[in-house]
């Protein structure tokens, strides 16, 4: 059952990165869209994400609950040492979630809309940035449980080049998946072209920040290259992701929207796989080479057992309903 729980944890993380990520990305795209086209892009996005909006963000809650029920030591260690970025991320979640609801359900449409939009786009940027920083910090080896000063315990645990580079990489990835997703959500050729251009820009940004991640890993003495390329799975996944980029750009010029989505999803999956495969099961690396392993820090056996069953039975209800929801609100062409 432990493995069922771990697999679900990974899948929840992946789905949050994909679905929640595309959702954040929609805001990021809006941030970088010129004033003239904003209103139109907003409308397309609203149609695309409105109905599945709430469900997209459930994955984060699911992941966090698994963590505190199944792996409480990991949850509490991260909560203590990454307190500050977690709070910033939460503020982003509050701002974004409420601004999204306000701008869509406010009965009066007036200047307040401008404010909601501003809050929405900026928090769409900040939230994944800090999510990335938190994820990066977990593996950066900078969390120091023996720290004696405030700075080394609560600031340098996350404020380092590597974590910040991962943050920006996450933002670019979200923008990229969103742009690819949105290409299939519009029939207007001009708008389509705009989304394709955004996808290209975000793709370049992702590559640039990806390179930065490697450079900063070197600067921070993190053996990232060895994690990624030191094993066949990592090499294969990176190769698959890179090769699929070529296919992807071919498909864009052919206008095959649905295939595109699958492919972008595949790429993100490969990226998460490479970054997690070598670490597993040590998902939090601490200073001095200590680490927190999923296996060694699991909760009581009965709890893991019950959690596993709850997951298996729960997903029997959730997955069909979710798939039907997504299917029902797809733009039909």
């Amino acid at each position: 059952m432990l493995y069922v729980v771990i697999v679900f944890l990974w899948v929840a993380l992946l789905l949050y990165l994909l679905l929640g990520g595309a959702d954040f990305g929609a805001g990021i795209i809006e941030l970088f869209t010129s004033e003239d086209n904003k209103a139109k892009a907003r409308k397309t996005m609203y149609h695309a994400i409105g109905p599945i909006w709430e469900a997209n963000h459930m994955w984060l809650i699911i992941a966090i609950v698994f963590l505190f029920v199944g792996f409480p030591v990991i949850y509490s260690t991260m909560s203590i040492y990454l307190h500050i970025p977690l709070v910033i991320m939460l503020l982003g979640i509050i701002a974004r979630g409420t601004a999204f609801a306000f701008r869509n359900y406010d009965a009066v449409v007036d200047n307040m809309q401008k404010l909601y939009n501003k809050i929405f786009v900026y928090s769409s940027f900040v939230t994944p940035l800090f999510l990335g920083i938190i994820a990066g910090s977990a593996v950066s080896g900078k969390i120091d449980v023996h720290a004696t000063t405030f700075l080394s315990a609560f600031i340098f645990s996350w404020l380092n080049l590597f974590s910040v580079a991962i943050g920006f990489f996450t933002v670019a990835l979200c923008g990229y998946t969103a742009a690819i997703y949105l290409v299939g959500e519009t029939n207007d050729p001009a708008e389509r072209r705009r989304f394709v251009r955004k996808a290209l820009q975000m793709n370049i940004a992702a590559v640039v920040f990806g390179a930065l991640v490697f450079i900063s890993a070197g600067a921070d003495n993190i053996p990232l290259a060895q994690w990624v390329f030191g094993n066949p799975v990592g090499i294969a996944a990176v190769a698959a992701a890179t090769l699929s980029l070529i296919v992807l750009w071919y498909l864009i010029y052919k206008g095959r929207a649905r295939m595109l989505r699958l492919l972008a999803g595949f790429q993100v999956t490969m990226i998460l796989l490479t970054t997690t495969y070598k670490h597993y099961p040590n998902i939090v690396l601490l200073k001095n080479g200590e680490y927190l392993s999923l296996i060694e820090n699991k909760g009581a056996d009965k709890t893991i057992e019950a959690l596993g069953w709850a997951l298996l039975i729960g997903s029997l209800f959730i997955l069909p309903a979710l798939i039907y929801l997504i299917y029902s609100f797809q733009r039909k062409d």
Partner: protein, 439 residues
Amino acid sequence: MDDFIAARSQMALSLGFHIVFACIGMVMPFFMAIAHFYWLKTKDPVYKNITKAWSKGVAIFFATGAVSGTVLSFELGLLWPNFMKNAGPIFGMPFSLEGTAFFIEAIALGFFLYGWDRFNPWFHWFTGVVVGVSGIVSGILVVAANSWMNSPTGFDYVKGQYLNIDPIKAMFNPAWFEQALHMSIASFAATGFAVAGVHALMIIRKKNAKFHYMAFRIAIVFAAVAAILQPLSGDISARDVAKRQPAKLAAMEAHFKTERESPLIIGGIPDTKKKKVYDAIQIPGLLSFMTYDDFNAEVTGLDRVPEKDQPPVAITHYAFQVMVGLGMLMLGLALLYFFALFKKKKWFSASWFLKLFVVATPLGFIALEAGWTVTEVGRQPWIIQGVMRTAEAVTPMPGIRFSFYLFTAVYLSLSLVVIFMLYRQIKMVSKMYDVEGVD
């Protein structure tokens, strides 16, 4: 402000904020389902308008409830890492089941809000009901987690170690049923009176009277039935507290001395130093009778509880008085409503009658917050009754007070914006849903 107090205040603030939105998110779908049902049956467009107007409000409340809940699931660790490290695997089961319930709720909400004219009308109606049912289920599950903190079971606590953990037993701890029942009824009473009050005000102002009248009628039935059940379930809760947390009961009642024929103390100002209550109404023997069905039974007072294990008496006592007092008031209103319904139909258009309900708008929510204050403050100094102290649970990170100020500012401004949005929503009813210019 000291960091420990700041952490407790931040927790209380976040929960106190979340609970309002959670209750509305749980209960409004049922009101909508009734209006929606009448629309499908009678094809009276006013019912459709009520459903639509309410669902816009619910979408706002739901989003705010969801983000504040997300914050809570992190806050448990941010503020109480030591508690979560030990308690997570024991009391976490309901939270993980709740994840499923929320998920279903979020999916159903997507169908409901965006599904007008897209699906079979009855499927669409059904998705609205699913939102409500899964909302209630998640409410019950969280309360089961909370009740575990009041009556911890499902593990053995041996020399500081938590052994033989059984999460299922922990979930069905002895207090879960009483608390879940009382909380579920409370959410109907609070939301019902709040919604009825707003619509009553609009009837008095003669704005779209038909629309608001029909909406009022739906909300008030739920509110009145819940208000009648509430004291009954409260009595069950109190008996339960007397057994599992005598210190909490003593603090609720400001009952300083263990004695037979204990009086019921109503109101008054407790003085912890002198161990006395001033200016209270005391009804001899009633407390003994209410907790043990026997006027002569002995009720444990605070003198049997070591000083260091005593909860703050004044806050617990006042909060309890507020809850019960408002509960009685709401009971009175509920009886008055049923009297009017069966005997005096014409009262429904009398402005004094409607004004009573306008005044009652916030009462349920005030009682609800007061009730949670009783439960949580009355458990102090324990975070897990008798096992772990709140002070042992708090995060080692310094400077929590800044985080408390920050969250206070955020929640304050969010509350203002939500009130502002609601005001705009109600103001627009006459413009958006003005059918056949009733009245």
